[in-house]
Amino acid sequence: MTTDWSSLDPALADTTVSVTIDGASVTVPAGDTILDACTAHGVDTPTICYAENLTPVNACRVCVVEVEGNRTLVPACSRPAEDGMEIQTDSERVRHSRKMVLEFLGTTNDLSEAPAINAMSERYDADITRYATDHARFDQDVKIDDDLYIRDYDKCVLCYKCVDACGEEAQFTFAIAMSGRGFDNRISTEFDVTLPDSACVYCGNCIGVCPTNALQFKTEFDLRRAGEWREDEQTVTRTVCSYCGVGCNLELHVQDNEIVKVTSPADHSVTHGHLCVKGRFGWKYVSAT
């Protein structure tokens, strides 16, 4: 459970704002974003670069909505709701931009392991077949530097989540950053050195926030390659990490009685979804014989 600090700030205490969402009046606490207001009102807003445990970067633009009086659409994830805002979440204009963002990603990346994004594409009638057949794509080789995790940047939609989780939002390691410019942007270490040569400490928090499986456990990668990854058969067991006394919660994903990957709940008050190398990868002893 997260703490609602707003109740401790006299400036925010007991203040609310009222907005109109698709014609309906909605009141939310001051400081909430348009996305929060939409969620409170039961409007399902698509998001890709947004994560509840990271500061919004509003880069993917799939959550854009129409706000009366604004020349352009605005990102719901980062724009605070203001009193009197009239918001349209399903206008033709909104649907159009969302559809185009999804077409742009669909024509650029391998989204085969991003079911949530594919569901959005279906919802907004994204049609990736109408583009030139030889259009530019990311086309990156999978980077396998070690036995812990792989980086398949052909799947990377440049949502900045891994960069932020590696940096000031969680880990403060700064092993990766955005490099290049424009369509050539890539998540990279300095001079693209391998992870063991970089500052990476293998906390795996980047994997935890990746929305497209561009970053994945080597165990998952190997099973997928062998055609043996069966997510629907997996169980997820929540437990407490056995290494130190901090009390991080782990979610052990188990297939055929073997741990295949470890996650942590984003809403957990200790971890906020983030772990260290031991909690993330140090579980081989469980099945050691």
Partner: protein
């Protein structure tokens, strides 16, 4: 921040020397004072991050690229994570992160609009035949002397060959001489000459009447920003002035990179003290002590003249602890960009000064409350500052004697392409497009189209010569004044090739932060490549696709680059310049 981990690569003496020459001991993020006392920490690191760009410039100039060892040293000095340093270095055109394999200067040849039709490609090939290292790239801001070249020096300073072959083409005529009154008249290297020609009269009066009255006069004058967005200057300045009790900044946005724009260059090269005075006026008016000039890296002469002017002004007490006896402190730091069109966008510019990639911020919050280093900041184009000076000196009523009710004052226009005398022209707003072109000697051929506002603007047909050059009239006719670009194209131009280059320009200049722009500019370019290769008319489904792309970029991109990246292409299709008869 965790301790930095550097790669095994070592810097050379030359690299360390280059960095040490621009970053003094006090600039280091960690300083060992005695055996046991070390100065460092987060605040110190953050306060020095803005020195990253100057450091990268130093490395690039010294060894021709940013090597792993050189980057290590710079990152260690400033305590910047190497991955982030690399991310910044790879963002800019003027830096390279792979060994060029030669020790020569690099000749940048512009291949955009005016240079495109002036034989830029042949020029580039000729330089290559001479054995020179050539880099074909975006507009260099020398459109009046197309095809343009800028030499990124190695073993010699950066320079523009045309500068040394005589004074750059001065403005040829002005129907009203306000902003250009000293250009070609004053000695750009002499403060005494500047003062003899009325310099610092504007600042003296601004100090005399005080900040509130100054802002009121600018509001009464109806001044709007001359960089392209035409935002009311008084609102911007009032916003910053109202942020009491905080450290504040004013920035001169001299990163003019819009293809076809070179007005600020002409002013800065020929009347640099005016930019210093204008920025000082802005600073004292909004209550900022810190002034910055962010100038594009391809303007070596203007950079030199501004640096000299800043030093002169400081020696004369016109910058420093007590500006012109006002009791107020104000000083200016100059920063060179490194080849990125996007850094002309004010929040990208701010990120760039801070030592980050030039990725625009989402607004709100606006720079007037959260600008440079998170502090209130006013960002203005040099021409805007000069206009504010005119108002300070002569008052709003005199300012309004020229121009229209809704678009008062004069403006600088950059004429290039198929026109007799390309150059910068100052005319009253409301002057017709045709009269402006006549002032520049008229078209040299049969005009087929005119590009208004540069690559981010739109094409208009020759039937628009009666259009008054005001914000309201251009808007009504679906075009823009933008940054004052007027590029003429006669009927000999291959528009398919020209428009394709404009699309390629955006493909190369999008920062890539948001999806609509990062991918949209690429898909737009691809549709045009396909169209060119087909040799046929634009098919309806392709027309629909390119319109769909344009709409999403305009609606959903973070910044103005994405919002305008389809304007020229869309207007070219509408006018039948490409794609067949509309």
């Amino acid at each position: 921040m965790a301790d930095l981990k550097l790669t095994v690569d070592h810097s050379t003496d030359a690299e360390r020397g280059a960095v040490d020459a621009v970053l003094t001991a006090d600039d280091h993020a960690v300083v060992r004072v005695t055996e046991r006392l070390v100065r460092g920490g987060m605040a110190r690191r953050k306060a020095r991050r803005h020195l990253l760009l100057p450091g990268l410039h130093a490395l690039q100039a010294e060894v021709g690229w940013i090597s792993p060892g050189g980057l290590n040293y710079l990152c260690d000095v400033l305590q910047v994570p190497p991955a982030e340093g690399y991310g910044v270095a790879t963002f800019y055109d003027m830096f390279r992160t792979d060994d060029p394999g030669h020790t020569d200067s690099v000749h940048h040849v512009c291949i955009d609009t005016a240079c495109h039709i002036a034989g830029a490609e042949q020029f580039a090939q000729q330089l290559e035949a001479e054995g020179k290292q050539v880099h074909r790239g975006p507009c260099l801001g020398q459109c009046e002397r197309a095809p343009a070249r800028f030499v990124q020096g190695r073993g010699e300073p950066d320079h523009v060959p045309a500068d040394t072959s005589g004074q750059p083409a001065a403005p040829h005529r002005a129907s009203v001489r306000r902003l250009l009154k000293r250009v070609g008249v004053v000695d750009p290297t002499s403060l005494a000459s500047y003062r003899e020609h009325g310099g610092y009269a504007a600042l003296a009066r601004a100090i005399d009447i005080g900040p509130d009255a100054m802002i009121d006069e600018i509001r009464a004058a109806g001044l709007t920003g001359r960089g392209g967005a035409a935002f009311p200057t008084a609102i911007k300045w009032r916003g910053v002035a109202d942020e009491h009790g905080r450290s504040k900044h004013v920035i001169a946005n001299a990163d003019e990179s819009e293809p076809g724009t070179f007005k600020d260059r002409v002013v800065m090269e020929n009347d640099p003290f005016s930019v210093i005075e204008g920025l000082t006026l802005a600073g004292l008016t909004v209550g900022a002590e810190h002034g910055w000039i962010y100038i594009r890296g391809e303007y070596p002469l203007a950079t030199r003249r501004l640096r000299h002017a800043i030093d002169e002004a400081r020696s004369a007490g016109l910058l420093g602890g007590d500006v012109l006896g006002s009791g107020q402190a104000f000083d200016i730091e100059l920063r060179r960009g490194a080849g990125a069109y996007i850094c002309g966008e004010e929040t990208a510019l701010i990120e760039s000064i801070e030592g980050f990639r030039g990725e625009p911020r989402n607004k709100p919050p606006f720079p007037s409350t959260h600008g440079l280093f998170g502090e209130p900041t006013a960002v203005n184009n040099p021409e805007t500052l000069l206009s504010a000076m005119y108002i300070a000196e002569h008052g709003p009523d005199t300012f309004r004697l020229e121009g229209t009710e809704k678009s008062p004052g004069t403006r600088l226009f950059c004429l290039s392409g198929h026109v007799a005398a390309p150059g910068v022209y100052e005319v009253a707003m409301g002057t017709t497009l045709g009269d402006l072109i006549e002032l520049a000697g008229g078209a040299t051929g049969t005009t087929r189209a005119i590009l208004m506002g540069g690559a981010a603007g739109t094409f208009v047909g020759a039937d628009q010569l009666d259009m008054p050059l005001t914000h309201e009239d251009t808007r009504e006719r679906g075009t823009t004044l933008g940054s004052g670009v007027v590029t003429l194209f006669d009927d000999s131009v291959d528009f398919m090739s020209l428009v394709l280059r404009i699309a390629e320009f955006f493909r190369g200049e999008s920062c890539g932060q948001c999806v609509p722009c990062r991918v949209g500019v690429v898909r737009q370019h691809e549709v045009l490549v396909e169209l060119r290769d087909s040799g046929a008319a634009l098919r309806p489904e392709r027309h629909e696709l390119v319109d769909d792309i344009a709409r999403a970029m305009a609606d959903a991109s973070i910044c103005g680059l994405g919002h305008t990246a389809a304007g020229a292409v869309q207007s070219a299709i509408r006018l039948g310049l490409i794609g067949g008869t509309p």
